[in-house]
């Protein structure tokens, strides 16, 4: 086998680059158009090289930035909750806030493992009993309700994903429309079906679907998705196809919501 010698190639390439630069320099000084064009191409190349370097650097620091942002987001959420409570005590908050923060406690978490291509998907978050997570808590993001905590260990929690046939969310059309159970359609990553909507209602594609707030798991008025199309089932109710806002393939940070008043409500129901 012939031994490959790189040195002549490197030498040739170096001479080529040197001579080409010399030729282009002469060309640059010879014509005004060429001068402008070569300068533009050179600047473009430099921008590309330095820009790519910066992008790579930014990419590797993304995890750090995201963690810091998630922390900051959580802090802001807590501060809003605190301020709303103060305002409510002084009677200055006339309307209920979109999320009834008196009923819910929020804890931010990161997803450490997620499945998205099964029929019964799940994910695991990095917060557990030690962080105050309890079974049955909801998991949300700014783009929707994405799961329910099903099992909790000291430091981690197992969450049943919305992309799971065993999971339903009570959702409603608009902020004051009719509500019904919504579940994953099992086919598209961002597809869901809202069922049991009376057929006499006018369904407008593009309308937003929100959490109803009637379940003890999720706060009200979290936007979930928009209506794609509706079809009448058995001549009685609509099955509404919903396009979800959340991209399950890109979720990294979530918020766990615990209903503080849940125990009290259940006790009341048991009487």
């Amino acid at each position: 086998m012939r031994k490959f010698n790189f040195i002549p190639y490197i030498l040739s390439a170096a001479i080529f680059i040197g001579l080409e630069i010399a030729a282009l320099s002469m060309l640059r000084n010879s014509g005004e158009l060429q001068k402008i064009w070569i300068a533009r191409v050179a600047h473009g190349a430099m921008k590309g090289v330095w820009g790519s370097g910066q992008k790579i650097s930014d990419y590797f620091s993304l995890a750090e930035s995201n963690s810091a942002l998630a922390e900051e987001n959580h802090e802001l959420l807590l501060r809003i909750q605190h301020l709303e409570e103060i305002l409510r005590e002084h009677g200055n908050l006339s309307e209920p806030t979109p999320r009834n923060t008196k009923r819910f406690r929020f804890t931010n978490a990161s997803i450490v493992k997620i499945s998205t291509n099964l029929q019964h998907n799940y994910f695991i978050i990095d917060k557990g009993k030690n962080d105050g997570i309890v079974n049955g808590s909801g998991v949300i993001t700014p783009n929707g309700a994405i799961g329910i905590v099903d099992a909790v260990s000291d430091n981690y929690s197992y969450v049943i994903s919305f992309q799971n046939h065993n999971m339903n969310i009570t959702a409603r059309i608009g902020k004051d429309g009719r509500h019904g159970p919504m579940s994953w359609d099992g086919m598209r990553s961002n597809g869901a079906i809202l069922k049991e909507i009376p057929h006499h209602l006018e369904i407008v594609p593009g309308d937003t679907i929100y959490t109803s707030g009637f379940s003890s798991i999720f706060p009200a008025d979290i936007p979930l998705g928009t209506i794609r199309k509706a079809s009448i089932v058995n001549g009685a109710t609509y099955d509404i196809n919903v396009t979800l806002f959340e991209d399950f393939g890109a979720i990294r940070y979530v918020t766990v919501v615990e209903n503080i008043g849940d125990k009290e409500i259940r006790q009341l129901e048991d009487r």
């Binding site: 030498l11 040739s12 001479i15 080529f16 030729a23 282009l24 320099s25 010879s30 014509g31 060429q34």
Partner: protein, 170 residues
């Protein structure tokens, strides 16, 4: 003797190229050049670095005495000189290049040499037209110029190759 003949022929062809540049500019859509053919015919016993220096000197001479835009032919012909041995290895075989043998239409076939010549011209004209246009000419203009120039210059290039590899015709 061979080298002396080649040297004299090469020098005369440089003058021919200068004449082509000065007196055969019929339209902006056509550029006639024999430089790629000349560089392709530099004996394979001469290594790439020396060939690139020859190409640089030849291109610069043409630029200085003919074109008016100094550096244009020089910048366009250097990639041809840089890729010459690789190109010849692909079309004429690695052994011929390793031995530094001479080549000719009769010995190696018109198709193989024409293919190598066509690629050399394509590389040359891509650089030449891009640098000459300096980004201000429309794409279609550059494409038509490339095709016209390739077609007519290839004919001149074949004659050039034939004259520079004359010994094989004995």
């Amino acid at each position: 003797m061979r080298r002396t003949y080649f040297g004299i022929s090469f020098f005369l062809l440089v003058i021919v190229q200068m004449i082509l540049c000065n007196y055969f500019q019929f339209t902006p859509l056509l550029t006639l050049s024999i430089l790629p053919a000349m560089i392709l015919c530099v004996p394979l016993s001469i290594g790439t670095p020396i060939c690139m220096i020859i190409a640089f000197a030849t291109g610069l001479s043409v630029d200085l005495f003919a074109e008016g835009i100094i550096g244009l032919n020089t910048a366009a012909i250097l990639p041809v000189a840089f890729g010459r041995r690789t190109l010849m290895s692909i079309f004429l075989g690695e052994d011929l290049v390793a031995r530094g043998d001479r080549f000719s239409f009769r010995k190696n076939g018109i198709e193989k040499i024409s293919a190598a010549l066509a690629i050399s011209y394509a590389v040359f004209f891509i650089f030449y037209i891009a640098l000459d246009g300096a980004g201000i000419r429309p794409f279609w203009f550059n494409v038509i110029r490339f095709l016209f120039s390739m077609l007519l210059s290839m004919i001149l290039g074949m004659i050039t190759v034939s004259s520079l590899t004359h010994e094989e015709r004995k």
